[in-house]
Symmetry: C3
Subunit: 137 residues, 3 copies
Amino acid sequence: MDEPLSIVLFSGTDDKLQAAAVIAAGAAVLNRPVHILLQYWALDAFRADRIGSDHGLAPEAGAAGAAALAQAAADGKPHWSENLRQARELGGVEIHACALSMDLLHLQPSDLDPLVDGVQGITTFLAEAGDGQIVFI
Amino acid sequence: MDEPLSIVLFSGTDDKLQAAAVIAAGAAVLNRPVHILLQYWALDAFRADRIGSDHGLAPEAGAAGAAALAQAAADGKPHWSENLRQARELGGVEIHACALSMDLLHLQPSDLDPLVDGVQGITTFLAEAGDGQIVFI
Amino acid sequence: MDEPLSIVLFSGTDDKLQAAAVIAAGAAVLNRPVHILLQYWALDAFRADRIGSDHGLAPEAGAAGAAALAQAAADGKPHWSENLRQARELGGVEIHACALSMDLLHLQPSDLDPLVDGVQGITTFLAEAGDGQIVFI
């Protein structure tokens, strides 16, 4: 269990980002290293100027699902970015932007929220995953 | 191969639920323990009053994909919930509702189909995953 | 690290297919065997008569995301199918069609692009995954 839990975070909707944050936080509580690689729409969601914006939900959420999540936010449940910040404070959580997606979306490191530690290639990410689990979200 | 195959089941469309059921059944045939954690829209799909309802498909299914799946159902191909029931009869398949999602969707254990064994936190789920694979669907 | 990286490729949108191709190529660069099982809409995207067609994007891509990917294609960035072809040339990449999905979509092996090595059942796929990672995309 010294191997990291590696998460390829692709999806940019608030529900999947929250699911990823919960998994990362759970692994951090277990003292496991967590490596997150941001691709595509998840990377876009980590732009400093919009990380707190409404990023929508998976289509199957429907009106009832959207209302439930809006109520949770109104009740003060933390945003996924806040959950990730808390997970990072436990230590061992690294968040990198995928180099190819940075290029694709014409982003610079300065465009990203400080939660992001830097830019990484997929090969490095996979090599560092070792024998640990890799989860695609 | 004594480690479980762990599935975080997030998506609530019938095609992804069927894909999860097929993977769970395949692992059960191989005598592997299977641990499923239901989150968000997958959890909603396991509500006792709607598990057999139409839960829609991934957007890319399109009209042709929807017609193919409707034809399969008309031909008597089993529903994903039936596939999971059969996988459970092989033994080793556990299905838990994620505690955070239960809270988010204001669900009680009595709201859920009997396929669900109980409620579990993400940390327990990850700890029980051990070194086995974790698949997010 | 002699165990394969196994990818259950379910999604049929061009962004997720590209993400899968990038992960497969990265693992191939690391000399890891890569096993891909095509299900549902990903299998449909590998039909010989439409592999190069526009398969759409995840809903959260939005207009800005679609424009970024269209620009990348116009700039000559390779299609996901080309990335997979190059990964295969590195060796160790196998792509199979899921037998259940072939049946569901009424496809014959001759309907599929030559990138696909053949048809495989989920149990064989899971058995060959061994202790290696399994990623669902």
